[in-house]
Subunit: 186 residues, 2 copies
Amino acid sequence: MLPLQIHLTLPPWIGDVVDADRRYEGDEERVGLAIALSRQNVEHGGGGPFGAALFDADSGRLIAVGVNRVIPQGCSVAHAETMAMMIAQQRLGRHRLNEDGGRYALAASSQPCCQCYGATVWAGIDELLIGARTEDVEELTAFDEGPLPADWIGELERRRIAVRRDILRDQARTVLAAYGAGGAPY
Amino acid sequence: MLPLQIHLTLPPWIGDVVDADRRYEGDEERVGLAIALSRQNVEHGGGGPFGAALFDADSGRLIAVGVNRVIPQGCSVAHAETMAMMIAQQRLGRHRLNEDGGRYALAASSQPCCQCYGATVWAGIDELLIGARTEDVEELTAFDEGPLPADWIGELERRRIAVRRDILRDQARTVLAAYGAGGAPY
């Protein structure tokens, strides 16, 4: 009998630390939430120090969040960004978020890995907002981030996905450094 | 209240068309199953003409299958390959399939897109077996397959993932062509 389904969850503490009704204005508030989620994921022992959040880019409404769930869920696909994308799509009932004519922003505490990079191409996202760079992740933790196209930003921009990075980069690096040092308190 | 979970399923007809107890010997039998799944997914009106299957590479035991579920599930991540990987990982209870010392093969009816390419890097797969090429997909259907690293095969091989392609390529192209022509019968 082949298994035919997948069930993935975010941790229950998300409800305690995220203000779902707040409007998140501007890139720093949006990436700031993703970084806060990355920090909480480490503090709760949930696995990789990565967080993401998906917003209606115009109103600042929060659609969904994600944290890395690879270890607790036994699922290599369950990165912060893919969790946020999948939950946002199920919430809005469509696989391309912006096919309603709206604009959507994905904020990530660190630059997406090779898997999540590819996933952003299909998700119907208009803006990718990034905290730490891949070189920060690889400098401060043991994570490999995988191979990307040489002109990874240009490839997204040609598909009408704006990329802005180094947003609260130092703050994002602080979480990575604490994780890399073995979960020292902040 | 933020949604905190994702539930993805394969279609119920999978149980009728896949012999879960058979041993699949060799690349052609393995990619052949992935292509059969791609054909069935089109015939059942399930969406994209893509199938995948994940095997214990040494014994030929089938661990999990996947078909493209983007449209029925409203989920851009739910490609055939990611479905097969996630279900296999949940079945075996670990996010890196080969961390038990076994060897695992992912067979895909077509070359993985940019998202699934990246996902293969993390899944604990030892062999990637491919039917049709990306240029076949883009020639015969309207799908964009997304940007890859220039040396995408070398990047996998450096991570100890063997890549073999053009396996039953003509058969895989036939499904793509029928899909591209609007679902004509086979």
